[in-house]
């Protein structure tokens, strides 16, 4: 079968779908290594300065992180349901769950930026605006550098993810996604789940590492 959706370089839709999926998996491997560089650095400094990292962790809002974790886990579920709906050709179910995913993703970003605003007010932003004077001030600043760098990079990926899912929603509403041709939603789902998994690692590294106060 060779209709409008098969690009000229492919023989059939199956080959195209397989190529699309493999392409996304290879891209995700790249992303693992991208975040991996930051996690490596984080692990080294956490090993050198365990106490400072514990103190610094207590300056983050535990509940904000937890709410965000919950939002993302639920969004992963809605994304999976949207993919499932698309695969069975249920256009409106798929659209509904894509919409839920977007709302949850925006909710996450809202909470995150609210947190950032709070840190800015508290003078926890590394660099010239850093006002924390307690014990291990320098190392706490280092912790906050990684906090902003890693959650910031994650938030950037979330923003891209929300845009991608929005495009998927528009494609679904326009009827471009069918029971036969739904690989864009599948690979968008892969990306979304990956970004969620990154957060699953970020959450303990920053919010839980200090243990109970």
């Amino acid at each position: 079968m060779r209709d409008g959706v098969v690009a000229h370089q492919f023989d059939d839709l199956e080959q195209q779908n397989e190529a699309d999926r493999l392409g996304m998996w290879v891209f995700l491997i790249t992303e693992v290594l991208f975040f991996g560089g930051m996690f490596t650095a984080y692990i080294e400094y956490r090993t050198i300065h365990p106490q400072a990292f514990s103190i610094a962790s207590h300056h983050l809002d535990y509940w904000m992180g937890t709410i965000n974790t919950a939002l993302l886990l639920v969004s992963s579920m809605t994304m999976a349901l949207a993919v499932h709906g698309a695969q069975r050709g249920k256009r409106w179910i798929s659209a509904l769950f894509l919409f839920c995913t977007i709302v949850l993703g925006l909710g996450f970003l809202g909470v995150k930026f609210w947190e950032y605003a709070k840190h800015i007010n508290e003078g926890l932003v590394p660099g010239r605006g850093f006002k924390y004077m307690g014990p291990y001030a320098r190392e706490v600043e280092l912790f906050m550098s990684f906090y902003f760098l890693m959650t910031g990079m994650h938030a950037l990926h979330m923003t891209i993810g929300v845009c991608v899912v929005t495009v998927m929603l528009l494609l679904t509403l326009a009827g471009k996604i069918t029971r036969v041709y739904h690989s864009p939603i599948v690979i968008a789902g892969l990306y979304w789940h990956f970004v969620d998994i990154v957060w699953i690692f970020l959450y303990p590294c920053f919010y839980l590492i200090g243990g109970p106060k």
Binding site: Q15, A19, G23, E44, G127
Partner: protein, 550 residues
């Protein structure tokens, strides 16, 4: 009289008797048809133009350095300018020439054809990869115009993050952006090799060039993102003084070196593995024999790719790394020599009792084997803990890696350009000029870099614009060699451009080579093949004239 009658009465030009066959170069015209093309062959040619431009930028920087080193006090430039010259040379040659050279030009052009595919799996990503490369290149050019950078290509902290006032962030941005071009190319090649092979083209029927491009792509995809994030951390540190690599804040400058070399050592294999693939193709074609131990050569590529990720610490023997780590890294570095040696021995065995033709590509391939062997063996010297302390950061190291990168990769790249030129342009290059340039480059290269081994061993450090007077003779020799080398590089540029217009048309398979890319016309039609080829035989299936084991 109607218009049709008028046209019929016009004298028929001689060329119109045989209508021009439509191929990828003439199927559409105009700037737009090139700049917006998704044809892998046209994108390859655009990459060829772009990296040739960067090659001459980096080459001019090198030539100025060599001219400066004619006299012990520095002939034309001072300390500051010299620092900027070698940084420019390193950054441009590594990221804007060597890394994209064979993959983005030769790989882009021939990989889909070797697989019997109409195009890469993601043609639009391929075009995007080109524009990302150009965009990154603009930053590098802007950097040069605004005064350049003097960190060296390694961007070591805290020199790059704290002390220098030059355009470090701009240089980092250029390299960072170009990295995504590499990643997209690698991703495209991996997916294409997995999913786009012609019917019957099993993994062990793939040409060895595909095996080496596949390994290279894996390295591109795995290593480049680590460089990207490392450069992000460096930029963040330089702009906002976050203290990530700054010991005053509890940071660790050595971590930067670890992360940097985690990319940059595998990057050496990004440069040399494609070259090895090219050499395997050329040696088989011009020896008229199957590659000896095909599977060993194929798996040697994979094992070089894997081991290449485990040896980065050998760049840091004197950087304050623990001596136990250094010992392990030293041992693993020796291990990489094994698959590399397997390749060299197997190429040599392939030529044994073959019908060896010393055509231009073969001369480059033979040059590669000799120079790569010297580069590889001196690599064992610098991988040895004790010897490295003596020669670290001297011209010995410079000579060693130039033997791999210039003597290896650039020789193979030029060999590949000549080998596939009839396919790319549909024209035969002038063979005699080809041979002259190959010999000139080989001679010029050796005159440039052999003296540098001696200089380094005698203790001349790298990255200085001046030196003690007793080193002058060897330095003058090296500069003389560099001049010959420069001339050698200009020659192919001249006669290849000339040949594209004036030379004889090439037949589909001028070398009588096996491989799917030679079974279609020269230049190939837009979709590469008129019908999808079906593969029924092993690669390099040249008729055996006598037993290889006789």
């Amino acid at each position: 009289m109607t218009a049709v009658d008028a046209a019929a009465r016009l004298p028929i030009p001689a060329r119109a008797k045989r209508p021009m066959r439509e191929h990828y170069l003439n199927e559409s015209y105009g700037l737009r048809s090139w700049l917006l093309t998704t044809d892998h062959k046209r994108i390859a040619l655009m990459f060829l133009a772009a990296i040739t431009f960067f090659f001459f930028i980096g080459g001019i920087a090198a030539l100025l350095m060599r001219i400066n080193l004619i006299t012990p006090t520095g002939y034309i430039v001072g300390n500051e300018t010299y620092n900027r010259l070698f940084s420019l040379h390193g950054i441009v040659m590594v990221w804007f020439f060597l890394i994209p050279s064979i993959p983005a030009v030769i790989g882009n052009f021939v990989l889909p054809m070797m697989l019997g595919a109409r195009d890469l799996a993601f043609p639009k990503l391929n075009l995007l990869s080109f524009y990302i490369f150009v965009f990154g290149g603009c930053f590098t050019i802007a950097d040069v115009i605004l005064g350049g950078v003097d960190t060296g290509w390694t961007f070591y902290t805290p020199l790059s993050s704290e002390y220098l006032t030059s355009q470090v962030v701009l240089a980092i941005a250029g390299v960072f952006i170009t990295g995504f071009s590499s990643i997209l190319t690698g991703l495209n090649f991996i997916v294409t090799t997995h999913r786009m092979r012609a019917p019957g083209l099993t993994w062990f029927r793939l040409p060895l060039f595909v095996w080496s491009m596949y390994t290279t792509s894996a390295i591109l995809v795995l290593a480049t993102p680590v460089l990207a994030i490392t450069l992000v951390m460096l930029a963040v540190e330089r702009i906002w003084h976050f203290g990530i690599f700054d010991p005053r804040y509890g940071g660790d400058p050595l971590l930067f070196q670890h992360l940097f070399w985690f990319y940059s050592h595998p990057a050496v294999y990004i440069m040399v593995l494609p070259a090895m693939g090219v050499v395997s193709e050329i040696i088989a074609t011009f020896s008229r024999k199957r590659v000896f131990g095909y599977k060993f050569v194929a798996f040697a590529s994979i094992s070089i790719g894997v081991l290449g990720f485990l040896v980065w610490g050998h760049h840091m023997f004197v950087a304050g790394q623990s001596v136990y780590a250094s010992t392990v890294f030293s041992f693993l570095s020796f291990l990489v020599a094994v698959p590399s040696a397997i390749k060299v021995f197997n190429w040599t065995m392939t030529m044994r009792k073959g019908h060896v033709h010393f055509s231009t590509p073969m001369l480059y391939a033979l040059g590669f084997i000799g120079l790569f062997t010297i580069g590889g063996l001196t690599g064992l010297f610098v991988a040895t803990l004790g010897v490295d302390v003596h020669v670290h950061d001297t011209y010995f190291v410079i000579a060693h890696f130039h033997f791999i990168m210039v003597g290896g990769s650039v020789m193979a790249y030029l060999g590949a350009i000549h080998y596939w030129w009839p396919k790319i342009s549909g024209k035969l290059y002038p063979e005699m000029w080809g041979r002259i340039s190959a010999v000139l480059i080989f001679f010029g290269f050796n005159l440039t870099f052999l003296p540098q081994f001696l200089l380094g061993y005698l203790g001349m450090p790298r990255r200085y614009h001046n030196y003690p007077p007793e080193f002058q003779v060897l330095n003058v020799m090296s500069t003389a060699g560099a001049t010959i080398l420069g001339l050698g590089y200009l020659l192919p540029l001249a006669y290849l451009i000339w040949s594209a217009r004036y030379a004889k048309d090439a037949p589909p398979n001028p070398w009588g080579a096996t491989g799917l890319e030679w079974q279609t016309d020269s230049p190939p039609p837009k979709d590469n093949f008129y019908e999808t080829p079906i593969v029924t035989e092993e690669p390099y299936n040249y008729p055996e004239t006598e037993s290889a084991y006789a």
